[in-house]
Subunit: 243 residues, 2 copies
């Protein structure tokens, strides 16, 4: 735990990024954060060949988790060609709270190796996009495990070819800014799976006229929900400050 006046030696990748990419120098102010919501203000005290010394100008603060919390369940275990990596990276960047590989009849497994790799992708992306709270990459869950969660959730969107256009569904769902995003596998959910999810309370939403790949549907849905929540939050803030 660093406190005010404490010094942290920064080396390796972060040192390179700060000095070569961001071109920071002695006396530049910086903020360090740990991906668990902790952040600390300070400045660069000195730079030498192998690293830099950061001095904390105040005690660390703890950032509250965002009020916007979207939890993604996507059947991406069978995706090839870096598409799963990409899905994880983009969910991290866009600010998903968690991502859970979904096991379905047509996408029944995810290998253990792959999960390790995806966790590395998640961490690298969190650093790149300066997330204060890392995305939680959960172990895979099968659809029977998802159903009770959907039933308990306030809002769960299920991407389905013929669903209500997403933004219309959002307009009628009010100002909730958290919930579940559920996206099926290549070859889609079975009819039985769709029915079960709908009976559990999922709202089917359509994502336009084209046949989208799993990763594209996930990212399109997440991006729109995050940007929707983002503007709802601003409206709330405005109405509070006016009230």
């Amino acid at each position: 735990m660093i406190i005010q006046g404490g010094i942290v030696r920064v080396q390796g990748d972060e040192f390179w990024h700060m000095t070569k990419v961001l071109r920071l120098r002695t006396n530049d102010r910086v903020e360090l954060f740990n991906g668990k919501g902790g952040l600390i203000q300070g400045l660069i005290q000195s730079v030498d060949r192998s690293g830099l010394d950061f001095v904390a100008l105040e005690d660390p603060k703890s950032a509250l988790p965002q009020s916007t919390q979207w939890h993604v369940f996507a059947a991406f275990g069978t995706l090839k060609g870096g598409r799963a990596d990409w899905l994880v990276e983009k969910c991290t960047e866009l600010g998903a709270s968690s991502l859970t590989p979904l096991l379905t009849e047509r996408s029944p497994t995810v290998s253990e190796n792959r999960l390790d790799r995806l966790q590395r992708v998640n961490m690298a992306a969190a650093k790149q996009c300066q997330r204060l709270h890392e995305m939680i990459l959960n172990p895979p869950k099968n659809i029977n495990g998802l159903l009770p969660l959907v039933a308990e959730s306030k809002l769960a969107f299920l991407a389905v070819a013929e669903g209500t256009p997403l933004v219309s569904a959002l307009t009628s769902s009010g100002t909730e800014s958290s919930g579940f995003i559920v996206v099926g596998p290549e070859g889609d959910f079975t009819e039985k799976e769709v029915n079960e999810l709908m009976q559990a309370g999922a709202i089917s939403v359509g994502l336009g006229p084209h046949r989208l790949r799993v990763e594209t549907a996930t990212v399109a849905l997440l991006a729109t929900l995050m940007l929707w929540s983002d503007s709802q939050k601003t409206c709330d803030t405005l109405s509070h400050s006016q009230g």
Copy 2:
């Protein structure tokens, strides 16, 4: 030009996709389309080892271009590691009308080789997602060439870190469902470039709290605008059918 009763021999990739992936058989009904808006209904007359014969059941029809038309200008020439490929693929899938590599002070070139490759990515994605109208991949344009186009456009959104949240900007911009999307390079636009774009009439929009990569910002903005337009269109249709 095929007319009713005409036969088309389908071989190669499409043959493989229709018979192995979609598992289509003799007498199954299918629709062929050419990516220029032409489509034709028919059925599979026969399947042999090397291909299948499609027989047209009616004359070809011409689908009108979608009323939703978003034109993307993104500075992605310097992206590495397949990120530019990915950006092109996702813009195609999500239904962008055109994509133009933008040349800026901090991203001044795109190599000729690369454009050929990106055009192949575009075509493959169009086929995969069954677009009736292919996305036009334009030659690169520099920012001075973009300014007069922005000035003439009804709606041009510029992705900027501190902009108005996108959905709030959309709510106040009404029901336009076409316009420009402008996204800067790695390292961002210069202040001068941002000022010039804003003076030409671009609306700066924010994409949430995280630092997004060029391709992520482009796709998040495009997905949200497409889904927004999609639901506006449905509202229009509903109000017409009620009127």
